[in-house]
Each structure stands twice: as C-alpha cells, then as structure tokens.
C-alpha cells in the first residue's frame, strides 16, 4: 500500500463495557453514548465498503438497531468495535447484493468530504477523481469480492482477520482478493489503452 490506513481511534474498552452493561439494563442514554463513541468509526468502515451512497446513514441506523437488539445476548467476549465491524460488514454485504442489481450511480459530490483535509484545491480535485474512479472500479465487483478486497487491500487486514470477519475460510478470502485485484487491474488496463488511443 502507498498510504497507511487512517487510524480510527479505538474507543476505551472499559467505558464500552460499563455503557453496554447500562444499556443492557435499559438505559437509553448509555446506548446513545455508545452510538456517539462508535458512529464515526462505523461510518468510515461502511463508506470504504459501499462508497458514499445516499443509503449510508439509513444503514448506520440499522447497524445500531441491530446492536441494540443483540444487547440482551451480547456476552462481551470481544471488543465492541469488532462486533460492530462484523455487523457493518454484514449490512454492507446485504446492501451490495441488492445494489448490484440496481447499478446505482455514485454521487460524486458525496466524495468531497472523504478527501483528506488540508490539501490544495488542485490536489483535492485529483484525490476526488481517484476516489470516484476507485468506487467505480469497486462497483464492478461482486459483493463478496468487493468486501474481501476492501478489508485486505484498503483496510490492511490480514487474510485471517478478514476471514474471521466475513465468516469464511482464509483460502476463500484469498481467492476473492486475488480475483478482485485481477478484475480491477484489467479495467485499469482498458482505461490506459483508451487514454493511449485518445491521445
């Protein structure tokens, strides 16, 4: 990778545990605090997986409602952030399967907020164009390949971590990532040929 994944600060586990315990007792305010602590992290993961689509905030609502429904049986045997990441991946998969059939277009204006702050407008325009192109390329992949590719190639997860998150074995995830990379590279090659002809 050419750039390190932007760290999304991991929330304090002790505080999460206390808030979960309170939320399990029916404390809505504690659940709201859990939402505040984790929503940016969830939104960032979700955006990487499905792109800056308009349904994102509805999906975030569904993800946290899924967490709320799971609270009575949540045992806390792992970090809440990992649990939420798994729910997020599942929500992204469900969304992408439907979306694949609908072939939604990218809202290019929604890409602007994703560009790292502090760039000169020209560099920002380039970063924006790169992100739009990447989301277009990712949009050509099947849901499973796309998720595996983003987890490994963008978020920097190991195959074992990605496999645990998506509930598949490592070999399957490895194949998905390889196929995804091959498909995207082929599309980039087509771009390059067209550019060559255009010039």
């Amino acid at each position: 990778m050419t750039a390190a994944v932007q760290p999304v600060p991991a929330p304090d586990l002790d505080a999460d545990e206390a808030l979960i315990a309170a939320a399990q007792r029916g404390d809505t305010a504690a659940f709201t605090r859990l939402f505040r602590r984790h929503v940016d992290r969830v939104r960032t993961h979700l955006t990487r997986l499905i792109g800056p689509v308009s349904e994102r905030d509805d999906l975030i609502q569904q993800i946290f409602l899924a967490l709320h429904r799971a609270l009575p049986t949540y045992r806390g045997d792992g970090a809440l952030s990992t649990f939420l990441h798994r729910i997020t991946v599942n929500a992204a998969y469900d969304h992408l399967r439907v979306r694949r059939r609908r072939r939604d277009e990218i809202d290019t204006d929604a890409v602007d907020p994703l560009v790292a702050p502090g760039l000169h407008p020209q560099a920002r325009a380039e970063a924006r164009a790169d992100l739009i192109r990447l989301f277009e390329l990712l949009g050509q992949l099947s849901a499973k390949k796309r998720i595996a590719f983003v987890l490994v190639a963008v978020e920097g997860m190991s195959l074992a971590e990605a496999a645990a998150l998506v509930g598949a074995n490592q070999d399957a995830v490895k194949q998905r990532v390889l196929h995804a990379r091959r498909e995207i590279t082929a599309l980039l090659e087509q771009d390059a040929r067209r550019e060559g002809r255009h010039d």
Binding site: M1, T2, T32, F35, R36, T47, I106, D109, L114
Partner: protein, 534 residues
C-alpha cells in the same frame, strides 16, 4: 492520473487508489450526528415502551383490569410524544460595543443574564442563543422579546436590528415578528430590522418567508428587501459580511462562566480561536478550559485561560483587566507595519507580563508569550477543519477573513475557489460565479473552469454548453473530462438536439463504458435512435 499506464504500473496505480480510500475518513458532521441520534433514540424508545406496554398488558389481563392497561399505554405513548422543552428566553453570551467607535463605558452587565425580553441601548450589541438551534445578535437601540409555542420560538422585535442564524434540521423553525411583518425562517442566516419607517429583511443563506403588507412572499439567499425599496434586491456586501461574522460565532459549550473584559487600549478585539467575537469592554460567556485572546492593532496580545473545572460555589462572574503593550516600543518599523496591516503581521509584546488580573480572580492570564494572530495558513486550516466538521458558517467566515486580510497571498485564490464550491453546493450559483471571477491562479484554472460550467448548468443551459465545450478544449486531459462530456451531451439531449448529443453520448460510452453515466448515455442513444425518422 490521466497518463497512459504501462502494465507494470497498474499495480502501483491501484495501490495509490486504495491508499486514497485508506486515508479517507467519513465522520458525521454535527448536524447529521444530532439527527441520527434523535432518530436512533426514537427507534430505540419505541421498542422500549412497546416491551413495557406488553408487560403491563399481561398484568392487566391477569387481574382483569383492561382499563389500567389502556391508561398505562396512553401514558407511555404520551411521554414519547412530548413536545421539546420551552425555549422562551434569550441566553446571552456576548455583550459588547456595536462599533469600533463605541463608548468606553462599562457594558451593561444585566444584559449577560438570560431573559425573556432584552432592551439593548444604542452603541451596544447582545449575542444570544435562542433554544438549541438558533443564535441572534441584537444591535441597539433595540427591544426584543421571545415567546414559544409548540416548540417554535418567536422573536418580537419592537424596534432595532437583529441578525440570526438557524439550523433548520429536523423541521426546526423560528419566527420574527415586527409591528408590521411576520417572518418565518427555516434553516437560514438572516437579518431583520424594524423602525417607525418600516422593515428590512436580508438573507445570506436559506430562505425567509414573509407575511406583511407590501412585502414579498419570500426573500432568498443573497437577497434583501426593505420597505420603500425597489422590491427584492441583491444583498449588500456590508450586511453579508455582518451576517457571515454572526454565523461564524458559536455559543460557548457548557459549563461556561461570564467574564468582563476591559483594559487598555479601549476597543481591543476579543478572539476565540480564529473568530473575533467582540470588542472591549465586553461581557462574554466562556467555556470551561477555553482560551480567549485580546489583541489590538499596534499592540501585543494577551491570552486568558478559563479554568477547566468551574465548580459549585465558584463565582459566577469574573472581571479581568488587561494592559497591552504598544509594539511601537519594540521598533518604529514594526509599529508602522502593525499600524497599517494589523492582522497580517503578528504583533508581539516585547515586555514581560503586560497583563494583570484583578486580585482573587481564578482565571489565569497566560500572556506573554502571546500566540500570533492567525496567518493565512491558520485561517485556511481553520476553514478546512470547519468544513470537515460540517461547520460551513465557520468555514465561510475564516475564508472571507483570509481573503480580506491576505488578498495577495496565493491561498486567497484557494479560498475564493473554496467559497465558490460552497456557494455552488448551497445552490447560490451567482455567488459561486462571482467568486470564480476573482480566482487568478493557474494551478486552479482547471477545477475553477469546471466549477464555473457546473454553476452555469444549473442556471443557463446555453452558456453552460459553451462553457463545457471550452473546458474540454482547454483541458483535454482533465479528470473531469468524462463528467463534462456527459453533461454536455445531457444539455444537447435535453434541448432536443439528438444530432448534437449522439456523437457525445457515443464518445462517452466508448471511453467510459464502465463509468457512472454509461447506462444513462446508452438509454439516451436508444431514445435518439428511436426518434430518428425512418
């Protein structure tokens, strides 16, 4: 990015694209976060009462008291539907002179206390919060009262001038009523003035709906209207700047403490971060743990730090005096620079401890060394951070300040471009075009040209088509070429010009067959083919 890539570079290219996404953050802005929280709480809250209601229902059935169950259910639903808490008071956070030449008298301290009605004397202004989503600046002489009905605050402006900003998310609204006019505001930055001769309404952003004799039904962003004027007119720059300044000033976080600031020189500027909030002498409410800076042209700065913890029993008010040291003592040349361009050159105090605190005062003066006044880079970074946080008003104010103070800095062009982008996003296309007219930086030629075309697309189709044609000729290798091509084709198609549209649509499909507009382009090609006479 648009260079042809030989195969060995494709992996690197893909890694670069992935790297872009890896460093992309997607936090919610404050407004979206508040909305999301409210939606989630409502959804979770419904589930809770549902469960409780079922439990009550089972108990009632067991003891044969169905009426109890119905009453309990009604009670629970009633709680869920309670209206928001009343907002019928102004909560001032700044009381300050309204102009540079205002009197040096003590600020009227009673005005810093929350009240349902304020009378602001001439020469002074009061900035106040009205409920959770609105702020106002009342400029004296003025009298304003606030009432609330069903969660909607109404400001009764008997006379004087009032600037306001309302976050209209979640259907929030605000009304301003003068003796002759009723204004309803939904998500806007606005000004209303009333005197015996008539009323005036100005809108920086959003829309104000009016109900009054001779008044137009609405005044939109970038417009103003006044009794006896020539109808709805463009907003004048002075009022626009006042409104942008008002919108950039945020009320303090709680807990906050009221601080009276006065000293030498009179009429010093009071800054919180990169935002000027008042001139001295002033009362300001400051958040615990925050810093406030006092500065003046040709003088050094002083920074006051409010204690991080404001405990129970601590004084509710503090009085702080300061004495800034003239820069002229350092060198005549520096003083001259500071006098003519006070904000472009950080004016530093050469002598130690020029500020003092009233005995017993718990606030801490931490100057010198004093921080520099914001540079062009500071202002640009502040605007960028504000944009990232979704605070467009603060971003706009920082960018306007940058352009005003550093017109010759290269960043001024970048600021103009950013303002144009924001204006375009807000649907203020004329404003966007005006900003773009002033951009004079070759590095911005391509994005500025493209933004100009986009602004025109939403306004004037013919001009937009000419602009896009010119853009494609001037920047044939632009990353925007695909989008420009698609928009140009769309304009021709929408105008019924299939002959002009088809070559463009075909080029788009050929070059960007997997692009976001390919399906649409193909559909339009089919429609043109179907419409062709046989």
């Amino acid at each position: 990015m648009t260079d042809p890539l030989p195969p060995p570079d494709l992996d690197l290219h893909l890694d670069r694209l992935c790297g872009r996404l890896a460093i992309a953050g997607a936090p919610l802005d404050d407004v979206a976060r508040a909305r999301a929280e409210a939606r989630l709480e409502a959804a979770v809250g419904v589930q809770g009462p549902d469960q409780r209601r079922r439990r009550v229902g089972r108990m009632a059935a067991a003891i044969g008291l169905a009426g109890v169950a119905a009453a309990a259910a009604a009670l629970l639903w009633g709680r869920a539907g309670d209206p928001p808490a009343p907002v019928a008071r102004l909560e001032p956070f700044v009381v300050a002179p309204s102009g540079v030449d205002a009197t040096a008298a003590e600020p009227p301290s009673a005005l810093i206390e929350p009240a349902a009605r304020v009378t602001v004397p001439a020469g002074w202004l009061v900035r106040a919060r009205v409920g959770p989503s609105a702020t106002v600046t009342v400029i004296g002489p003025a009298a304003v009262a606030v009432t609330e009905e069903r969660g909607v605050a109404t400001l009764h402006l008997d006379r004087g001038r009032l600037l306001g900003a309302l976050d209209g998310g979640g259907g929030r609204a605000l009304r301003v009523v003068t003796p002759r006019l009723k204004a309803t505001l939904i998500g806007t930055v606005f000004a209303v003035a009333a005197d015996e001769r008539g009323d005036a309404v100005a809108v920086l952003r959003g829309e104000v709906r009016l109900d009054g004799r001779g008044a137009p039904a609405r005044v939109g962003g970038g417009q103003r209207w006044r009794t006896g004027g020539a109808g709805v007119e463009p907003l004048d720059p002075e009022t626009g700047a006042e409104l942008a300044e008002h919108a950039a000033i945020a009320p303090p976080r709680e807990p906050a403490v009221a601080v009276a600031l006065s000293g030498e020189p009179a009429s010093a500027e009071v800054w919180i971060g990169a935002t000027r909030v008042a001139r001295t002498p002033t009362w300001v409410r400051l958040a615990a743990g925050s810093d406030v800076r006092v500065s003046a042209p040709s003088y050094g700065d002083a920074t006051l730090r409010i204690p991080a913890a404001i405990g129970i029993g601590a004084p509710a008010r503090h009085e702080v005096t300061f004495a800034l040291v003239p820069v002229a003592r350092a060198s005549r040349e520096d003083a001259a620079v500071a006098t003519t361009q006070p904000a472009t050159r950080p004016a530093r105090a050469p002598d130690p401890a020029p500020a003092r605190v009233i005995p017993g005062e718990p606030a801490e003066i931490v100057s010198p060394p004093a921080p520099a006044l914001p540079t062009a880079s500071d202002l640009y970074r502040d605007a960028d951070a504000a944009l990232a946080a979704g605070d467009r008003d603060r971003a706009r104010a920082s960018l306007v300040a940058l352009i005003g103070r550093f017109p010759d800095e290269p960043l001024a062009d970048a600021a103009l471009y950013e303002l144009a982008t924001m204006a375009h996003a807000a649907g203020e296309h004329d404003a966007a075009l005006r900003y773009l007219d002033r951009v004079d930086d070759d590095r911005l030629a391509e994005p500025a040209h493209y933004l100009r075309c986009r602004a025109l697309v939403d306004q004037r189709a013919a001009a937009a088509a000419a602009c896009l044609d010119d853009f494609r000729r001037s920047h044939p290798r632009s990353a925007h070429d695909g989008s420009a091509l698609l928009q140009l084709a769309g304009l021709r198609f929408d105008a019924g010009d299939c002959a002009g549209a088809v070559p463009l649509l075909a080029e788009y499909v050929r070059r960007f067959g997997s692009g976001p507009g390919a399906a649409d382009a193909r559909a339009r090609l089919d429609r043109c083919a179907a419409a062709r006479p046989r």
